[in-house]
Symmetry: D2
Subunit: 213 residues, 4 copies
C-alpha cells in the first residue's frame, strides 16, 4: 500500500534539494515521477522546483482549485511507469487537496512525498501543513539550525530594516520582507540573526545537530 509522506521543516532546510534528489532516484532506475509546485511560488518562475545548491526541474503548477486526484489518475492510467508524486511548498494546499493526496495513495497505489513548512511567521500552521500533519502516514523532519546553533523550528518574517514582523497576511504577495529560520527562544526575542554566521561569533559556536542533508 502506497503511503503519504510529509517532510516538514523551517525555512531553508533543503526541502527542494531533497525533493529533486528523490525524483532523480526514480528516474535513474528507469521510472518516472510527477512534480508539482504552487503558482504562488514565483521566486524562480511558475512551474519550477529550484534548490539553492543549483538543481532545477520543471513542475506542474497548481492553485487551490486544482484536483490532484483527477490529474494523477489520468496520468498514471496513460503511463503506468509513473511511480511517485512529489509536491513542493505543500503548506499551500487546501484540506480537500490533502484528502486527494491520500486517495492517490489508497486508490491509485502511488506514493506521495509532500514537502512543506510547518508554520507561518505568526506560529500558526498553514492549512496544508495542518492536514498533512493530521493525515500523513509518515511525518519526517528536515532539520536546519538557528544562528545560535540550536535546531530552528520557527520562521521569522523580517522587514527591510531587519525587524521582526508580528502581524499581517499569512502569505505575502510582493513586498521586500524575508523569512529566517530561528529557534523558539530567538523567535520570541525577535532576534533573526544572520544566515551566514559572523566570524566573531564562530569560535565557540556549536551546532546542536550537524547540518546534515
Amino acid at each position: 500500500m502506497a503511503k503519504l509522506h510529509f517532510y516538514y521543516s523551517a525555512m531553508n532546510a533543503g526541502k527542494s534539494t531533497t525533493l529533486l534528489q528523490s525524483s532523480y532516484n526514480y528516474h535513474e532506475r528507469g521510472m518516472e515521477t510527477l512534480l508539482f509546485a504552487p503558482i504562488i511560488d514565483t521566486r524562480f518562475g511558475v512551474g519550477k522546483v529550484s534548490s539553492r545548491i543549483g538543481l532545477e526541474q520543471e513542475a506542474i503548477s497548481f492553485n487551490e482549485n486544482f484536483d490532484f486526484y483527477d490529474y494523477v489518475k489520468k496520468k498514471v492510467a496513460e503511463n503506468p511507469n509513473i511511480k511517485c508524486v512529489l509536491i513542493d511548498e505543500a503548506q499551500f494546499i487546501k484540506q480537500k487537496q490533502v484528502l486527494q493526496l491520500s486517495k492517490i495513495c489508497d486508490d491509485l497505489n502511488t506514493p506521495v512525498l509532500a514537502y512543506g513548512l510547518r508554520i507561518d511567521f505568526r506560529g500558526e500552521p498553514f492549512e496544508g501543513s495542518k492536514y498533512l500533519m493530521a493525515w500523513a502516514d509518515q511525518i519526517i523532519e528536515l532539520k536546519t539550525i538557528c544562528h545560535c546553533g540550536k535546531k530552528a523550528t520557527m520562521n521569522m518574517r523580517v522587514d527591510e530594516q531587519g525587524n521582526k514582523v508580528r502581524e499581517g497576511e499569512q502569505i505575502l504577495i510582493g513586498g521586500n520582507d524575508c523569512y529566517i529560520a530561528t529557534c523558539r527562544k530567538h523567535f520570541m526575542l525577535g532576534q533573526a540573526g544572520a544566515f551566514i554566521l559572523p566570524v566573531k561569533n564562530r569560535e565557540n559556536w556549536e551546532a546542536e545537530e550537524p547540518l546534515e542533508a
Copy 2:
C-alpha cells in the same frame, strides 16, 4: 558535545550526494569542513568525493596508517572556522582510526559524519563498519531498494557474466566485478536483477520505501 555519526547503507544509496550536501550546508553559512576519501577508491580519481547526480569535490586522501586525530587537531588549531569532518567510504577505516574519530568529537568538539557500507559481498562487516556500529553516537540508515522493491540490505558481487561471486578478497583491486544492492532473499537466491527495472516488470512493481533522498 560533538558527536560521531555513522550513515550506513548498501551500494548506490546516495551516500556521496548526502555527504556533499551536508558539507555544502556548512559552506553556505560561512563555515568550513574537512572531507576525507580513501586512496583505494579510484573510481573517480584519488582524493575526490563524487556522486552519481553529478556533484564532485576534492577530498584529503587517507590510507590505513593515516592519523585522523593528529591531522584534524592541527587543522582546527590553524582554522577554528572548520566545523565538521566528513568521511566517504568509511567502511575502509581501521579500528584505531574509529577511535581517532571519537577523539575528534570528544577532545576537539568537532562533529564527525562518516558514510559507509555496512557489510561486504560475503555478508561480513568491514572493520570500519564494525567499529563505527559499535561506537558511533548516532547510527542512521540511508535506504535503497532491491530490484523487487524491498529495501536492499546486502551487496552482491557479480562477475562479468552476471553471476554472483561467493568467495574472494574483501576488497577487489582491479577486475571487472561489480556490486549490486539486493534484499536478503534475492541475495540468498543469487539474483542480482537490474538496477534499471525492465519495463515488463514495472506494472505491479511497488517500492517498500519511497526512493527518498
Copy 3:
C-alpha cells in the same frame, strides 16, 4: 535547553504505559516528575493515569483554564528535584496551554513529554494536537495496527450496534460509543473490525509493523 516532545498515536497504542515507564525512569534514579491528566478522562477516575497493562499512578488534573506554566513554575521553585513534566491525553489542552508548555521548556528548562491522539473520529485534529504538532521540538509516533495488519492512523467512533458514527461532538460525554483504531482504508469503508483478531482470520495475517512497545 529542555524540549517539548509530542508522542502522538491512534487509540490503544500504549500511550499511558509509555508515559508511566518514562516517569518511572526518573524516579528510579532519584528524581521526581509532575504528571497531569485531564478532568474529562473519567475512565479510571479523575486524576489518574492508568494503562491497560495494569500500571496506575495519581496525576494532577487539569481543565481548559488551568495554567501549566504558573503551576510548574511554583513547584520547581519549591522542589528543584522535579526534572520532567508528563501530560496524558494532551489532545485536550488548548492553544494557550501549548504555549505554556513551551515556556516550561524555554524559561524553566524543564522537559515536557505530552502524549495524545492526533485526530478525532471525524479526522479533524484536536486543538491540543494541532498546536503540539505545530510547536513541539520533537514529534514521535507511537504505533498501533488495524485489524487488517496495516498501521492504524484513524480513530473510528462506533455505536452500540458496531456501526461507524460519522457526526457529532468531538468529545462525547457519557453514552456508549467506543473508539477503534483503524487504517485509512478501513476507516473510509466504515469497517472497525475486532481488536482481538478472529481465529479464522489469523492464518495469513501479518502485521506491517511489529506490535512493539
Copy 4:
C-alpha cells in the same frame, strides 16, 4: 515480509520491559509469541525475562548450540497463532544463530525482535551484536543516560571498590563486579558515577535526552 529488528542499548535502558510490553501487545489481541533468554543470564533464574519495573515472564532458554530456526519452525507449524519471536540478551547469540533468526523472518515469515547490548566492558562488540548490526532489517536504539546527563553508550565494569575493570573475560561468571552505563568521556576517565544522582549534583543537572520509555 517479516523483519529482523535489533533493539540495542547500554546497560539498564529498559530492554526487558520493552520486550515484555511488545509481547503483551500481541497477547492482548489474541495472538501468541515465543520468548527466549540465554542460560547464562542467571540474575533472575534460568528461563525468565524480568524487568526492573516488576514485570516477569517465562522464557525458553538457549545456549550457543541451540537451533532457533528448527525450534521456531516446529512451533509455528503446530500453532499458526504464534506471530512474533522475542529474544532477550541477544548479544550472547552466535553468528550462525543470527543467520537462523534471519531465516525465521525470510522463510517462516515471522518477525523477530532481538534486544541486546551493543558492546562489552572493553568496547568490543559481542558476537551477537556484531552480526545483528550487520544483518538486521531495522536497528533501533533504546536510550539511557550517564550520570552526567549525556546519552550513555558504554558499559563500564566496576569492581567491589567501585574501580573500573579494564581487562578480563567478556562474560563474567560469578564474581561481584557490576556494570554501569556511561557516556564515552566518563568511560575514558573511568568515572562510573552513581545510578541514583547524588542530591548535591541535581540542581543544574540536565539530561541530553528525556528518560523516555
